[in-house]
Symmetry: C2
Subunit: 311 residues, 2 copies
């Protein structure tokens, strides 16, 4: 009886892998290096080899494996086609078909941020909900939309790209994507640092942030300590994120927003700044929504990859 | 063999009904009055009675009816629960269960704008696509999101409420929803008329719009005739709609936007103003999208209601 799942979270440096049972228990976790040379031609063969080796080591027969789920860093449609992954050197091809040929196992593929969202819904901060929007506040801002338990991949794999929602008309500095005024420019770790540095340069108002490194972490530590200038920065952050999520709410009307990524380590204090702005800018019919913290950290990807197989 | 579908488009004045075969051919269309007195308690019994009478008239046995689909003017979740419909006098209850008890037939219920979107995808301007966002530019601005053939209802029935996306920080006049700066305030028929009147009041620039009624129709007629002032108004309209749809694109990454409602009678000239702004504000991964005109007009609702049954 098929009861095992192999889950893969493919990153630019490391491939994280997990062996799951179908209830979502991790039986084993391990990592291999991502070999990017020659346009990443070794990546999928390496993944296939380590999975087949692990199955042999554990004496798991192929008919006992439900399949492989994999999250990859690039836009992926619902059939498993990736539309380029620049930092792996990959061009357009079908990841599911290729990995399936290499392993003889069924494969489901998703975008890494979307797959992490699925993981958070299944076993993390979104547990108990069926329709969520996950927001990852890291170096950039990623997102994943899950509707009635199913990942919204998008026609060309760009579903849930909420870091690139336009939220500011009066921005001059371009975002990494080439546009100006993207949500990511104000609410990523990088964006928060920038907002803080701009505020510090504005006048000589005292702040603990003048005494050391300025980062998303030090900003929110200062907010918790009651630092007025840091609180001003948090207000701006919250205005942009609340406004951005209000727009997302009007489109998909989720049960919950699950906030993850490095910035979310600040904890529930973030909600003090996000929620009131969400309520201000959102359509009244979308205000019955919960704000939750992500709980799976770096494991969200493998949990979501396992869930992909069970979808 | 079950092969007939009854489709219902419930409006505030009239109930439109259709008898369909499962290929989507309309075999008959008719209407009854919407009796709103006593909090609309007669509405569903009236609908049940006219459907059962039509089945008898046509000698269609119950086992030959796949079910009833109905679009209603209010927020409806995927289980058929309506969260109030102010203009019918309805409070919260399950429409599908109630109409099913009255008819002995399976019932599927959706929000009217969402259901019309489904109709346009099935048999209208969105034909051939699987994931679309329909935008209705009427007195207000409605929307419907279809993902891989399935309606996105939203957790509390407010999915696709894209008329209430926030697009302007510097608005003072409130939208009907109570917020300020909603997409609807600039891109509905009412909004376009307002934009035109504001532009006319700004200075004495000549325009054919000074000689008669100002409406969305006269504005776009003037645009087609090369009227410079009308073209300025169309540019503002297009900036807001392009910016709003760019945000929608980043969230759901559809294959096509289908533009309907009274304003869409202006035709493809609208796309001259929408598309360039969509391209300006959208995330690059969401730019491979088509803009289409809705084609079903007032019949979109019954087509979509029929399709609900086949989902």
């Amino acid at each position: 009886m098929a009861q095992y799942i192999f889950a893969v979270d493919l990153g630019g440096t490391t491939v994280k892998l997990g062996l799951f049972d179908k209830e979502g228990n991790v039986l084993e976790k391990w990592e291999i290096v991502t070999r990017k040379e020659n346009n990443g031609e070794n990546i999928l063969p390496d993944i296939a080899a380590t999975i087949l080796a692990k199955a042999e080591e554990k004496a798991i027969a192929k008919e006992d494996i439900l399949g492989i789920g994999i999250g990859v860093p690039g836009p992926v449609d619902s059939k498993g086609t990736i539309y380029k992954a620049a930092n792996l050197g990959w061009d357009v091809f079908n990841v599911s078909d290729t990995l399936s040929e290499l392993t003889g196992l069924p494969v489901k593929t998703g975008n890494d941020a979307n797959v992490a969202a699925l993981g958070e819904m299944w076993k993390g901060g979104g547990q108990g909900y069926n329709s969520i929007v996950a927001v990852t506040l890291g170096t950039g801002v990623g997102g994943g939309v899950i509707i009635e338990g199913k990942l919204l991949a998008g026609a060309t794999g760009a579903g849930g790209e909420i870091g690139h929602i336009h939220v500011e008309d009066n921005e001059r500095i371009p975002c990494g994507c080439g546009n100006t005024g993207c949500l990511e420019q104000y609410t990523s770790a990088t964006g928060i640092t920038r907002l803080a540095n701009e505020r510090l340069a504005l006048d000589a108002k005292p702040s603990v942030l003048r005494d050391g490194e300025v980062s998303a972490k030090t900003v929110f530590d200062a907010v918790k300590a009651g630092d007025e200038l840091a609180i001003e920065v948090a207000e701006i952050f919250g205005m942009y994120l609340g406004k951005g999520l209000a727009v997302v709410g009007a489109v998909v009307n989720p049960e919950a927003f699950v906030i993850g990524g490095g910035v979310s380590k600040a904890g529930e204090v973030l909600f003090d700044y996000i929620e009131k702005n969400y309520m201000k800018y959102s359509f009244h019919g979308t205000r019955n929504v919960k704000f939750k913290l992500a709980t799976l950290g770096n494991d969200a990807g493998i949990y979501g990859a396992a869930k992909l197989v069970l979808e």
